[in-house]
Subunit: 172 residues, 4 copies
DNA sequence: TATGAATGAGTGTTCATTCAT
DNA sequence: AATGAATGAACACTCATTCAT
């Protein structure tokens, strides 16, 4: 039974990620249940509140970002993350706080650590100026992701925009 | 009575701007009416649809931005707009499209023209590289505004982040 | 000023007849005002209540029926009235009492008198059996009008249905 | 819980039939819920739209008519149905199309078949002329029901009116 | 533990009616 | 007398959440 429950939890998370990515955080919990192939009660058993569900998604997405950060350079990570932004609509949306107030100190902290490592490497490699600090890097990452997401930028605009940011990081 | 109606229209817009800034676009039209000191029917007489109200707010805010663009340099305008972002939460939020689908080609077009002029001036003055084009400037403006808004950045972080962007624009 | 008011009253009645015929009694008073080229307040000055307006229309339509009754035989009047039913949707609808409770003893009385005269003539001419009384004639008239109206009968079905009724009146 | 749901569905239908019969199709869904002893959400769970509820009532009533048609002669069925009309106000009202646009081809088709059988029998028995066809029989049935319903006819007037119709059917 | 029916507060919107101009 | 802006009760419908089965 534990196994089934675990499987259901995962299914619900997957469904929720897809549904919220498609319709925004205003999508109904019923729709999530439908997509997960589960009754509405089951969703609420696993996540007593809609917000709990959103928080859980966020945690997964942030963990995914941390994983992505391993094995890339800072600029590659930036580019990759921005490109994914539209696909992972929810993450950015939720970080952006669409109605829901979410605090995820741990998950965010881990991401900051990961990006911090990339920053240090980039500075050691001389591609980012020493005066740059982590907060503005995180700020720029979040900003450009949101811009890319909501603006519907094409690849070309993404590239041009990131070029400006990278130039700015390289030397300011 | 035209005068009173005009006054009410303005009051409703002010109230709506405040309410939507505080609670997001999901705030109820009733709350707007309450804050405007007006019956719900009056809101719907002036704006037959909640979306009409949101569009009207957007138009005002974009017009305000256009006005702000006159008489500033590009970087000053950038800085000022980002600083205002949190105060004018709605504008960015709506541009970001939280649920509501809004097309404002005219108003957006005017803003682009205004920023385009600033860009040309900045390039003439040699503070922005000639390779920079308007689309990425708009993209960066929107991005950083959203970042500043949702991330709750303090003045210091705003400044550091913009410093990177300005350096990037200056030379990339 | 009296003249203008009278003109407005007539315009409102005309508009109301058209609007209610087109959209049913659920049409809004605003729509009537719009079609009459008059402000909503003017409608309510002339007819303090929507029901008052409906009653006024009914009176006009019944008076029209009385006029139609002059110079026709009973069967011709029947046929003509049924054919008009769809065009004069409201009359039948209101007689049918769609929500609104209306008592129009005088107007209905006059119509009954007129039809009574036709009945007497028809019996004198031997085309309607002597055993037939006015109440069932009125009942059949109202019934078939409603049927024709709501059923969307074509001319052919109208004719066949009336043929049965006329045969029944001729000899029962 | 399927059982409880079924019970609720039935209760809602009963309540709706009563409420719409009493107040017309303009009665509020809330009133139906109240009379059914159920929360408003339950009504909408079973009938996602007010129109769905009206359609469901219609289907039930038409099915009832079909059932009534079994085991009666045409005239008896006519008489019985007209007498019931006032009690089953809604059916006629809805067939009459008060505002709501409803298509019930199947249910109506079944009723036509049933009445068609009665007609054939009546013609075989020689009480209805061979020249009479089903469409005008249906038309007369609907018409007289509406007349009886909205005119508030007493038993006596019903009988006299139907006598004319039956005479007309017998020989025209 | 899963189900899905039930709840009911809340939302956007309409419209008859009132009333200040 | 006419205008049309304002009112506010009412409505159809949604959805997060609870709970009986």
């Amino acid at each position: 039974m534990r196994v089934d429950a675990q499987r259901n939890r995962a299914r619900i998370l997957d469904a929720a990620e897809a549904v919220f990515a498609e319709f925004g955080a205003r999508a109904s919990t019923e729709e999530v249940a439908r997509r997960a192939g589960v009754a509405i009660g089951t969703v609420f058993r696993h996540f007593p509140t809609k917000d709990d569900l959103l928080v859980a998604i966020m945690k997964r997405l942030l963990a995914q970002l941390v994983e992505d950060a391993e094995g890339h350079g800072l600029f590659a990570f930036f580019t990759h993350t921005v490109a994914q932004a539209a696909a992972k609509k929810t993450a950015v949306d939720l970080l952006a706080g669409s109605g829901v107030d979410i605090r995820l100190p741990d998950a965010v902290g881990h991401l900051e650590e990961a990006v911090g490592r990339l920053l240090t490497q980039a500075q050691a490699a001389g591609v980012v100026a020493d005066s740059v600090r982590l907060p503005e890097v995180m700020a720029l990452l979040a900003s450009v992701c949101q811009g890319a997401l909501h603006g519907g930028w094409d690849k070309h605009l993404q590239a041009r925009t990131l070029a400006v940011v990278f130039a700015g990081l390289n030397r300011d």
